[in-house]
Subunit: 479 residues, 2 copies
């Protein structure tokens, strides 16, 4: 039986101005987690959510996370957990979002005041946090309100987890999720997880995201002299760490992005026919890439190869060098110790520790070939795993039907090249399927100046989140 | 006829405490040319020299250089020119030094107040400018005073040129020297030039310096994307400028310092038997190199190869990268535009423009091989020529005899790996031989914390400068 959603949709339309008002209030609170001085505003934003959720009739708790590590007596903002509905006959869906935002100053180049929601005549709603991630978080609240006011029963139990440190590494959250997912914990009963904190591939067609790449980040440090040297005095008499470093970094990857480290590409899972079939429908053009690159310096000429390179193949980027001369102008220094930074984006079925050992061996071998008297130290700075879910799971097929219902199209099935670490945390802690269901579009400029959320994405997105809760309630369990 | 110097030497010994007092007064004036706020102190130091030289009976002029380019109405410190003796029967020797100093703060790590001359029980006289270059400048004044008070006639006419911007690029000096070297100018009558502004190779044996390397400094910029990219989103789909840059920089020089650019090494003048013979006597041990390196990462195992590599062969150093990630920690950026900085130390008979064209061609060729869609721009940032004088010129043989007379040893005949641009300026402007006759030793820490000049170097150095004026007066013109 197809869900009856007309009443709900009408109510969302009716309430749309008040939903925008709700977003306006949220954007006005500069809840910047990276700025210690703004911590009271982050807390204020958590209180706003508690008050709104309470008014909607949800059960809400504000959970402290203790002191922020490395800071002098600074409390972390709380995690807001909430429950709406607790019927044992209904599925329980765990929803995640974050209420903190990136820093923003008008002087950074914003056309409008970043903490004043400003709607233009095309319905673009500018403001820090509009799309990342206050709009999606409020989408869930809007969905509850519209159901209540339309008198439509929600067919699932909702569990909510809204954090306030996402833009600063989700300090303290992993332990919290693991604890609450255990028997007796707040998230114990979750049957599936839905995260709305990423973006459509373009501007017209919604997507469901079922994979993320991981990232192993390395430093390779080469040192020799006891202190920086003058190249006039020592140039030609001593082994120079920077000479060795550029030679080693030059061996890691070729111009076309092919990783030169033996053993890495060999671990990549082959493309199956089924996986390949997903790429045909995706709404993406090379011009989208050129626009976001700001140039035509693409490696591949076609969309499929480009998206596969971004989503399902590893890549290696050299990010920079620490310890060398990096200012404008000229300085005749021989740096005594230089550290090259590079990272590998990982994909199924690469094992993180095996990647490390291949990298360490190769870098060491290439350095040994140089026969330098300098010394080398290569190490992992941090690692985050890749993640991939089955897009055939009922959590996904339900979301796909909801998209079709609200937008009239089948969603793109996408992966992302970057990482959203909390995805893996939820999957590991709950053992349940995790769905990434974005609200915003590719042009929203999260983390940048002039961040915005389109009115259509917010209002139709609210409909989508509510519709998803209906489809996911009745979707047959198969995958 | 050997010069009669005993009376002069005795007078120097007798006046030694007052000479140290003169240095103490000079060091107490913080004449830091790089610090706009200290400009009045630089001027004060020029006035100190005018007053001292006038009291000694010299003809002195304080010559303005106008406003400092790029500054808001800031006068350059004057050049102090002076003449002592104007007999048409005598040779005229032009002497150069500088009265400005490097910045210094006690907090930088000085053991004593940097602008208070502090003499320890081993005769080490600590203070900013003690060795660079106030001690040598005052050495000439001391020499005049000791001659006057001993009643010994100076057998040459002295011309002096003391500048106040050496530590900040000798702003305005080149034009001044060129003008004054022309007919009717203050330096017109100079027969030879002597500069005391460098250092002995070690601590025991004086040296005469007859060569300097030049320096051609390059940037190679590679750009592609319109703005910095996130490696999660774009890693694997776009040509990365940093990947191209490390591959190009890795092709410039090998671990043992051999420049890989065709045409460069081919321009180097071969070592003659005569030149080679100069190296045998030089007082230098590999331990001196290890100590100054702070490590044993030397390319060559022996002294001769090491000194030749520093003095008479070219070298190439990679200094760093502008535009890439250079801070501690990890950042997953793909920089949009990166500029590698490298320089080549040049030697006879390398022609600067030919070096440039070999570099441009090679860098462009290596980049073309990469088949990258990024764009490259390689350019010269600045060039300064190498310089070499004949150590057989009478200016040098006279100085060699003076060293033998004062120190009882034949001086090391050295070159330097770095550059002292004013040397070339004097040579070109006057067309005369230029001698570098240092006073300080290798351990003096010019430009560093705890700069010092040993009492022995200052007092015996004053004797040496005076003795040189006698020997140079009567040396036969041959080379």
């Amino acid at each position: 039986m197809a869900p009856q959603l007309d009443g709900y949709f009408k109510q969302v339309d009716k309430l749309s101005e008040s939903f925008i008002e709700r977003l306006r209030k949220a954007v006005a609170i500069p809840s910047i987690s990276a700025d210690d001085e703004r911590r009271p505003d982050v807390v204020k934003m958590s209180e706003f959510l508690v008050s709104e959720l309470t008014a909607l009739g949800a059960y809400v708790e504000s959970r402290p996370l203790g002191l922020q590590p490395g800071k002098n007596n600074l409390q972390l903002p709380p995690v807001i957990v909430a429950r709406y509905g607790a019927s044992p006959d209904k599925r329980t869906i765990l929803l995640y979002g974050h209420y903190d935002v990136q820093p923003a100053l008008k002087d950074d180049g914003w056309a409008t005041e970043p903490f004043t929601l400003t709607v233009d005549d095309k319905g673009r709603m500018y403001g820090r946090g509009s799309t990342d991630d206050k709009g999606p978080v409020l989408g869930w609240l809007n969905a509850i309100q519209a159901h209540k006011e339309a008198g439509v029963e929600l067919p699932v139990n909702m569990l909510m987890c809204f954090e306030g440190m996402e833009e600063y590494g989700s300090e303290g959250l992993d332990d919290f999720i693991e604890k609450e997912a255990k028997p007796g914990g707040f998230f114990e009963k979750a049957d599936a997880v839905c995260i709305s904190d990423n973006y459509w591939l373009g501007t017209e067609k919604p997507c469901l995201t079922y994979g993320l790449r991981g990232c192993n980040y390395y430093s390779v440090s080469i040192s020799g002299p006891g202190q920086d040297l003058h190249s006039g005095i020592f140039g030609g008499c001593a082994h120079e760490p920077m000479t060795d470093l550029v030679r080693v970094l030059g061996k890691l990857v070729d111009t076309d992005g092919k990783i030169q480290i033996p053993g890495i590409n060999e671990m990549v899972a082959p493309v199956t026919a089924e996986e390949k079939s997903l790429y045909g429908d995706i709404s993406y053009a090379m011009d989208n890439l050129y626009e976001s690159l700001g140039s035509k310096t693409a490696i591949f000429p076609d969309e499929e190869k480009t998206l596969m390179a971004r989503w399902r193949y590893p890549s290696l980027s050299v990010h920079g060098v620490e310890g060398a001369f990096s200012a404008p102008g000229a300085k005749t220094v021989i740096p005594a110790r230089v550290s090259g930074k590079f990272s590998i984006r990982t994909v199924p079925d690469m094992e993180s520790e095996k990647v490390d050992s291949h990298v360490f061996k190769y870098v060491q071998d290439e350095f040994t070939k140089l026969r330098s008297k300098n010394t080398i130290d290569v190490r992992l700075i941090h690692a985050g795993n890749w993640w991939v879910a089955s897009p055939k799971h009922w959590n996904y097929t339900a979301a796909g039907r909801a998209v079709k219902k609200v937008f009239g199209v089948k969603p793109d099935l996408t992966r992302e090249g970057g990482s959203i670490p909390v995805t893996l945390t939820f999957e590991k802690a709950t053992g349940k399927n995790v769905l990434l269901l974005p609200m915003g579009s590719s042009t929203d400029a999260a983390h940048s100046i002039n961040e915005k959320l389109d009115r259509r994405n917010y209002i139709e997105g609210t409909k989508l989140l509510g519709a998803y809760l209906h489809y996911v309630a009745e979707e047959e369990m198969k995958a």
